[in-house]
């Protein structure tokens, strides 16, 4: 049970959504999509929205189209729908390891990327494929590169929301590698999740679970592509993290580094065999 009241709005157009947000903005409204995180946090009293604005009736947010140039995924498309379509296998593989299948039927890609739970693993393939992000602002739609908006989390102005992710078609079928390591159960938050993709002979990589935020680092990618032994590359990557490793009950910082190093070695050996 959620121990307080809020109002519920289900706009049918982008304009209606942004308009109602602007009207209510002094009263702490939340954009709402899958709802898992908003409901859980409201139940615990961690957040107290005055209103939720459900984006699931807006066609632009729920579309999933493939054109001659790109794959367009609406922010309110569920993880299950994306995984089952398998239009971007790297993204499908990543998504299938987020929460469990039933929750994947509700969690949306926009909600996962913009949520407050720090792992946000859906963003890994999006960062690596340097997708475009269509953002609804008070002044209309804006197209931005994801790497311009991402700084450990999606940086949006108050009242803005993501409408779509647009992935260049050339990335959809490139070879990729995905590993998620968890402490005990298969379904859990990651100790580490690593996604790699090979483009023009060079590896790209993004990480979740190791630091307090998911990241792609060009410095790490440079190390990754050095012609050195897997052990040496893995050690250098551990020394080049953008922030200290997470140290919590699921895994100490030392243990996460140990797992990270071994996993990178494992991945590089596998990639070398291909």
């Amino acid at each position: 049970m959620i121990p307080f009241d809020f109002d519920y709005y289900r706009p049918e157009t982008l304009h209606e959504a942004v308009h109602i947000y602007q009207e209510l903005k002094s009263a702490n409204p939340f954009y709402y999509s899958g709802g898992s995180e908003i409901i859980s946090m409201s139940r615990l009293g961690s957040i107290c929205p005055s209103a939720v604005i459900d984006l699931k009736a807006i066609p632009e947010c729920t579309c999933m189209d493939i054109t001659s140039k790109s794959l367009i995924i609406g922010s309110a498309v569920s993880l299950t729908r994306i995984a089952e379509s398998n239009l971007f296998p790297f993204l499908s593989t990543t998504i299938k390891r987020i929460a469990d299948h039933t929750n994947q039927c509700r969690i949306t890609i926009g909600g996962n990327v913009c949520g407050t739970i720090i792992y946000r693993e859906s963003v890994i393939p999006l960062l690596i494929s340097e997708c475009d992000v269509v953002v609804q602002t008070a002044n209309g739609l804006k197209n931005r590169k994801i790497n311009e908006l991402w700084n450990g989390r999606m940086i949006l102005e108050q009242g803005d929301f993501i409408v779509q992710f647009i992935i260049d078609r050339e990335y959809l079928f490139l070879p990729y590698f995905h590993i998620k390591k968890v402490k005990n159960e298969k379904i859990d938050y990651p100790l580490i999740t690593i996604g790699m993709l090979k483009k023009d002979g060079l590896l790209r990589a993004a990480f979740s679970g190791i630091c307090e935020f998911p990241f792609r680092s060009l410095k790490i990618e440079k190390i990754l592509n050095e012609k050195e032994s897997p052990d040496s590359v893995a050690q250098k990557i551990c020394n080049a993290l953008p922030a200290p490793p997470i140290n919590n009950i699921d895994g100490s910082d030392g243990y996460r580094l140990f797992v990270l190093k071994n996993t990178i070695v494992e991945m590089l050996k596998k990639i070398g065999e291909i």
């Binding site: 049970m1 898992s36 409901i39 139940r43 939720v52 699931k56 039933t102 509700r106």
Partner: protein, 164 residues
């Protein structure tokens, strides 16, 4: 634009019946099903989306009703365990003794029902992927596996013995 402010009367399609309920926008589907409609098959377990005991089916897909607002479901088709009648899943759970205390059973049945409808050709991998969403604490997973394999022909059945 649809708006609900304060307590509102909403029509829900539950088990192919239109039911009117007065709900707050922040009311959860599980609470409305159980407390207003008397449909107590969806069980409150963790109430955090982890255990699957409260699973119902909305538009053919399983969802955890503790993580859904009741007002969101207006205009959609909700199926609870009370709406299952003589399905292969129910028969199989009885025939293979796929429960002990039974608290998780309705959630498992709903996932199994959705799985059979959506993926009648599901193999071991797909079956595991779907059923990992639910937790049974009475250790009857092997019986559940046997039951599921009896109505999903592509799921390997290590022990197909029916327990009478």
């Amino acid at each position: 634009m649809i708006e609900y402010k304060g307590k509102s009367v909403v029509e829900l399609n539950v088990n192919n019946e239109i039911r009117s309920v007065a709900v707050r926008p922040s009311d959860l589907l599980i609470d409305v099903l159980r407390n207003q409609l008397g449909l107590t098959g969806a069980k409150p377990g963790c109430l955090n989306g982890d255990c699957g005991a409260c699973t119902v089916i909305i538009d053919n897909l399983p969802v955890k009703s503790c993580l859904v607002l009741a007002v969101e479901t207006a205009g959609h088709k909700i199926l609870t365990v009370e709406g299952l009648k003589n399905t292969p899943e129910q028969d199989a759970f009885v025939n293979f003794s796929a429960f002990q205390c039974g608290y998780c059973t309705s959630g498992f049945l709903m996932v199994c029902h959705a799985l059979r409808i959506m993926h009648p050709d599901a193999d071991e991998y797909v079956m595991e992927e779907w059923l990992e969403s639910n937790i049974c604490r009475c250790t009857s997973y092997s019986e559940i596996r046997n039951a599921v394999s009896s109505f999903l022909p592509n799921v390997h059945n290590p022990s197909s013995k029916v327990i009478k």
